[in-house]
């Protein structure tokens, strides 16, 4: 068993559409402590920043998450090097 207190993973975040504008950036690299990080963990870390992160990812706001280009639920596990995209519900067609 890896020691979850000392291991860490780094994910590449991609912000799209309204979220890109609200966060003022197209993405960033983020390191999460612990080996058992999920999408929910990531969202909680971002929410704690407050400001537009707290607002856009807060209760009552719909956010979709894709890991390596596939839509996932908030209990999905994250791995080192994953590309994690956050975006509002899609409106194409």
């Amino acid at each position: 068993m890896p020691d979850s207190r000392t291991s860490a993973i780094t994910v590449q975040l991609v912000y799209l559409a309204r979220l890109r504008e609200a966060f003022g950036r197209a993405g960033e690299s983020l390191t999460l402590q612990g080996a058992d990080s999920s999408v929910g963990t990531l969202l909680a870390v971002l929410r704690e920043r407050g400001g537009n992160f707290g607002l856009e990812l807060g209760a009552g706001r719909a956010v979709r998450v894709a890991v390596n280009h596939a839509l996932v639920a908030t209990d999905a596990r994250l791995g080192d090097g994953d590309e994690v995209a956050l975006f509002p519900p899609v409106t194409g067609g």
Partner: protein, 143 residues
């Protein structure tokens, strides 16, 4: 199967001809063309800009048949999307065409942003689109 995401306009007649070329079993072609409206939620729309997520878009659309979806800034009456489906008889073609549009509107990573006389705004997703897409899923299936 053709799936393209592009800024350029498309010629539906040419795409349909290419899709059915040389297949004498085809007895039905159903198409859907989405175009830009000059009004949304009672506000005049000047332009509509479509954004997508390169890499994921193509993957999300691979499951389906013949689709061209434009991105970039468009004006009212411009064409946005073409979905074309062929089959032996009309029932399957209509069903497949409707399924593809419901899928596009709820699963494919595109976003619309309108400019209006009052400024720019992102278009909100419609709950009715989610409900339409859900009708295609098995009753007890995962969402």
């Amino acid at each position: 199967m053709t799936v393209r995401v592009q800024t350029a306009d498309f010629d539906a007649g040419r795409e349909i001809a290419a899709l059915r070329a040389g297949d004498s079993r085809v007895g039905a072609v159903a198409t859907f063309i989405g175009t830009v409206r000059d009004v949304n939620d009672a506000t005049h729309v000047v332009t509509l800009t479509l954004e997508h997520y390169p890499g994921m878009t193509e993957k999300a659309l691979e499951a389906i048949v013949a689709v061209i979806h434009r991105v970039g800034t468009l004006a009212p009456t411009d064409q946005i999307v073409l979905v074309a489906v062929t089959s032996a008889h009309r029932g399957e073609a209509f069903d497949a065409c409707r399924f593809l549009m419901d899928y596009l509107k709820t699963r494919a990573p595109f976003w619309k942003k309108e400019t209006t006389p009052e400024g720019a705004r992102w278009v909100d997703a419609r709950a009715s689109d989610d409900e339409a897409a859900a009708l295609w899923e098995p009753p007890s299936g995962p969402r």
